[in-house]
């Protein structure tokens, strides 16, 4: 469902550049990337999945909720 950048919602007053980056600008790495996945047909959990765009290897997955709490801590 998109890049895990969406975890870091800017402050409402953070300014245009911050919001533009949050909503529209995405890296397109050849290598490791962090995705947001949603277990829609199951428990409804959002996950941060770390995977490699070159090898398709999935290197890790954690609950987005845990990642978000870490980010805020």
């Amino acid at each position: 469902m998109g890049d895990a950048v969406l975890l870091d919602r800017p402050d409402p007053e953070a300014g245009e550049a911050a919001w533009d980056g949050y909503l529209h600008l995405r890296d397109n790495p050849a290598g490791v990337t962090r995705d947001l996945w949603h277990h829609e047909a199951g428990c409804g959990a959002w996950l941060v999945v770390t995977r490699n765009t070159v090898t398709h290897a999935v290197e890790g997955a954690e609950l987005a909720e845990a990642a978000a709490r870490e980010g805020q801590a």
């Binding site: 919602r9 909503l23 959002w46 999935v58 987005a64 978000a68």
Partner: protein, 973 residues
């Protein structure tokens, strides 16, 4: 001809079958191909392009020629390979691509025209005039060139898909695969052994090789017995692994023996922690003039038909090869008492002794005969040309390891000089280890050792230790080969038998500068037929390498892609056609609606009634107009259960709603309902709906039918990611509650006596809600209205939905009203300017909809920051208006563009568009909702509506979007 004493078939049982209407007999264990050969049927098909007569070439999956149509009528299955078609009693097969018959094919004239039909012919010839391509050239070419045809009827056969999981997937049950499965099975690993053939053993079935001093076949049978006794091993015969995908996922096609009430095939998705590829090798032909004549076959296939099926492919044989393996064919044939006229080995150093002439250093330069081989023409090393009478030529250009699966994730195979073949690239598919002939190991001993080793390596990675068991005794002959791709000379030397590609075509491609192997492939169509060039690609690229002065590794291979064998779309999509294509969501009023003759319309996965026809009504508009009048003048009932309902509870429920809605819900009093607008983070509208506060910490949110899933996903995201600390829970209750709208001046009258409550405006004012009891059942009542009339929505547990709907409709009818469907519901809401996803289409803002007043300034909410961008609040934006026709043309269409009355109707002059239209029986004219630049400031102006698509235009007046009862008094009072 059958040879007594040979073969693994059950000669005691006879199976009758037909080919092109002629009756033949075969035996259990036969394939269609072996049974045809045993009946001396040599001509089985016509080639794709030139309609040349073709016979059986191989004994396996790679067969390019013997493609037939199986079964009759709707069961028809085109392009089945006779070499892997298991014979059964009553099988009916027909040859393909011939007219009027296989023996006399009119389009064989193409073969005489072949000098004009070479590579690139279609590209060069049918360029002009352009319009002729679609109407004339393509249909004619398609008719002439082709394979079998589908029946054109719905497929009556059953197909299945299934999933499987294992520690180790072993692909192929030859000596390497069986040894790998034994090693892993004995170590206790969860093993799946998949083999394409109907009987395990691989090449052991086709050879006279011995293992542990006995026939190789006996060893294979014992191995399978042991494996089947192990509870941790699953053996899947008739299952071709078709593709290797990410994360250890493999596709596999299982073809089941035909039987009543049984699916014909099953497409498996196998997830394996590790895999061993023991897929064996495929023998490749040699290019020489007229090497496609029926009777010219692969050497390994000729001895396979003899040893496995007891079927002699001819009476007089010539063997032609460039490697020692071909010698086995001559020896086996001679042992069986068959006449081997000569063995031609292109290697000067070749040594072989047997009851036949051996011509070392000689080459086959052509064949003679008509629709069947009569003689083989050879050239001795001294240049002397000799013709040898034979009706079967067994040829071998060497063996190509079946590397396909190792290259499915983009890797290219590696050239190995000593075996003159490509072998799997190391580590190309994570967890997949090639073994045996697939890895370029050709001796029986080598295969057994390699299979055991591959299994141990694979298991080690999984943390399972497998014991070293002693290997069975088997031959370990070296594989000696000297490459021979093409015997130069006059005449056409065929490479790709299925697509009719010759060595000359490949050279011509090189000459015309299609030097890349990928370009050559596309220019000549080499390897692009259903067999994917399994036995011809390597020779073609070797000839290309030669023609371009490069080495074979420099030239490289084309890309290998799944599937390894053709997979019927019906198998891949099993369960997903007709009513199985998508789940269907039915409301509790579905049966009652159908009983009333309502046509149902899909709304997402839901089915909703469009209208409820009554006697005398012949057009949907009559029903719809009546239903609208029912609601405006009496009372109507409609099912609104499909709207998304999300139950939200917890101390922070109000905080959550304040954050996801633009307006405030924390200030809403319990027992009240409020309309809410939800934005995406980019500032555009996501959805709207009403949310009711049932208690201090208890809300029920409604979403539109279409966006229910999206809103649920959004709430998950907000509570887990953006506001992870909120103490709130929510769950979808859409299906738990059956909810019906009762709307119209007589709504209160309809409900009187049903509920344990007083429905007066004082007790139940507009936008109130609460729990009530209906005939003793706990129900919820909402005083809301999507029609603009006095309205109640009553929700009961879904199990009461059917009976409540029937009761409400009966009461409505007794009051001069009735049920209303989606069409009337739509008209009612357009009259009132209420929105649906026709308007909330993802490009509109609250400002565009005239709802900027709902954007709270006192709090943060999703979309707030971005919705304030100047471009999203520009008055020049296209904003919501109503429209009514004023010209002579009185109808309106949705999706039409709006222009200034005098402006030219071009895209750059467009000032807006219409989104919803309806005929309003209440107002007596058509109405539209749409978006117009600066719309709210243009009420009363004229605009021109032009529908380019439907060729329609009319003049309209811009009106307020709420066309009926603008102050809303009817809903409140």
């Amino acid at each position: 001809m059958r040879i007594d004493g040979k073969g693994l078939i059950d000669r005691g049982t006879r199976l009758g079958f037909t080919f092109d209407g002629h009756r033949y007999e075969g035996h259990p264990g036969d394939t269609l191909a072996s049974a045809l050969l045993a009946n001396d049927v040599r001509l089985v098909g016509r080639s794709f392009k030139y309609h040349r007569p073709r016979g059986i070439l191989t004994a396996g999956s790679e067969e390019p020629n013997a493609l037939v149509t199986l079964h009759d009528g709707a069961h028809r299955e085109p392009n089945a390979r006779a070499t892997v078609t298991e014979l059964f009693d009553g099988l009916a097969a027909r040859s393909q691509n011939r007219f009027p018959s296989l023996d006399w094919d009119l389009l064989a004239v193409n073969d005489l025209l072949s000098p004009f039909l070479g590579a690139g012919f279609y590209y060069k010839t049918f360029m002009w005039p352009r319009a002729f391509w679609e109407k004339l050239y393509e249909p004619a070419i398609r008719r002439a060139a082709g394979l079998g045809a589908l029946s054109g009827q719905p497929d009556p056969d059953r197909h299945e898909t299934a999933f499987a999981h294992c520690d180790l997937l072993v692909i192929g049950a030859g000596p390497a695969g069986l040894m790998a499965a034994l090693t892993a099975g004995r170590a206790g690993a969860d093993v799946i052994l998949a083999d394409e053939d109907l009987r395990p053993g691989g090449r052991l079935l086709s050879e006279t090789l011995e293992i542990d001093g006995g026939p190789g076949v006996d060893w294979a049978d014992t191995a399978v017995e042991e494996l089947e006794a192990l509870p941790n091993v699953r053996f899947m015969p008739r299952t071709a692994v078709t593709g290797a995908y990410d994360h250890g996922t493999y596709g596999a096609l299982e073809r089941l023996p035909r039987g009543p009430k049984r699916p014909v095939d099953c497409f498996w998705r196998i997830h394996a922690r590790a895999a061993v590829l023991a897929a064996g090798a495929l023998e490749r032909p040699v290019g020489f003039a007229d090497n496609d004549r029926p009777g010219v076959m692969m050497a390994g296939a000729v001895r396979g038909y003899l040893n496995r099926y007891g079927a002699a492919a001819g009476k007089a044989f010539v063997v032609f090869g460039n490697n020692d393996d071909a010698h086995r064919t001559a020896l086996d044939l001679a042992d069986a008492g068959l006449h081997v006229a000569a063995v031609i080995d292109s290697r000067h150093e070749a040594r072989l002794s047997g009851p036949f002439d051996v011509h070392a250093g000689a080459q086959v330069i052509g064949t003679r005969g008509g629709r069947a081989l009569e003689a083989v023409v050879i050239r001795h090393p001294n240049g002397r040309v000799e013709s040898i009478a034979a009706d079967c030529l067994a040829m071998s250009g060497g063996w190509n390891p079946s590397v396909h699966l190792t290259c499915h994730m983009g890797a290219r195979p590696v050239w190995q000089e000593d075996i003159a073949a490509f072998v799997p690239p190391p580590g190309a598919v994570p967890g997949l280890i090639p073994a045996g002939a697939a890895a370029g190991v050709f001796s029986t001993h080598g295969c057994l050792a390699s299979g055991a080793k591959a299994a141990r390596e694979a298991l080690e990675v999984l943390g399972i230790t497998a014991a070293h068991a002693p290997l069975p005794e088997a031959e370990d002959a070296p594989y000696a080969i000297r490459p021979l791709w093409l015997v130069e000379g006059k005449g056409r030397a065929w490479l790709d038998f299925q697509n009719d590609v010759t060595a000359k075509d490949v050279k011509q491609a090189a000459q015309e500068n299609f030097r890349s192997v990928e370009h050559m492939k596309r220019y000549t169509t080499q390897g692009m037929a259903t067999d994917q060039g399994k036995n011809s690609n390597v020779a073609a690229l070797a000839i290309l390498a030669d023609a371009t002065g490069r080495t074979i590794p420099e030239t490289g291979t084309t890309t290998f892609r799944p599937p390894y064998v053709p997979v019927p779309i019906a198998a891949m999509g099993a369960g997903g056609r007709g009513r199985g294509f998508a789940p269907e969501r039915l409301t509790t009023s579905h049966a009652a609606s159908l009983e009333r003759g309502a046509p149902m319309i899909e709304a997402g996965l839901w089915f909703r009634p469009s209208w409820f026809p009554r006697g005398g009504e012949t057009h949907w508009r009559q029903s719809c107009d009546r239903e609208v009048r029912h609601v405006r003048e009496a009372v109507g009932v409609t099912d609104v259960s499909t709207l998304g309902k999300i139950d939200i509870q917890g101390p922070d429920a109000a905080t959550l709603l304040d954050f996801v809605y633009t307006n405030t819900f924390s200030t809403l009093k319990p027992g009240r309902v409020r309309y809410g607008l939800m934005l995406r983070e980019d500032g555009f509208v996501m959805d709207d709906g009403t949310t009711a506060r049932l208690g201090e910490q208890h809300y029920v949110m409604t979403t539109t039918t279409a966006a229910a899933g999206q809103v649920m996903r959004h709430l998950d995201f907000v509570t887990q990611v953006l506001k992870p600390g909120l103490d709130v829970s929510f769950t979808s209750v859409t299906e738990h509650w059956a909810q019906f709208a009762v709307a119209g001046p007589k709504a209160r009258e309809l409900l009187s006596g049903l509920l344990d409550t007083d429905l007066s405006d004082e007790a139940w004012p507009f936008m109130s809600c609460g729990e009530v009891r209906l005939s003793g059942i706990a129900a919820r009542l909402f005083r809301i209205s999507f029609s603009g009339e006095t309205g109640f929505e009553i929700a009961v547990p879904a199990r009461y939905g059917d009976s409540l709907f029937r009761l409400l409709v009966a009461r409505a009818e007794s009051l001069g009203g009735g049920a209303y469907g989606m069409e009337a519901l739509n008209v009612l809401r357009i009259e009132k300017g209420f929105l649906t996803h026709a308007e909330l289409h993802g490009r509109t803002t609250a400002f565009d909809l005239g709802m900027e007043g709902l954007m709270s300034r006192k709090k943060d909410f999703v979309g707030r920051t971005m919705a304030a961008r100047p471009g999203l609040v520009d008055p020049e934006r296209e904003r919501l208006v109503g429209l009514k026709p004023i010209g002579p043309v009185k109808s309106l269409t949705s999706g039409a563009f709006l222009f200034e009355p005098e402006a030219e109707a071009t895209r750059e002059n467009a000032e807006g568009y219409t989104t919803s239209v309806a005929f309003s029986p209440t107002l007596g004219h058509f109405l539209a909702l749409g978006f117009l630049k600066n719309g709210p400031e243009r009420l009363g102006e004229k605009v021109r509506l032009v529908d380019h698509l439907r060729g329609y235009e009319t003049l309209c007046e811009v009106i307020h979007p709420v066309a009926f009862d603008r102050d809303g008094g009817r809903a409140r009072g």
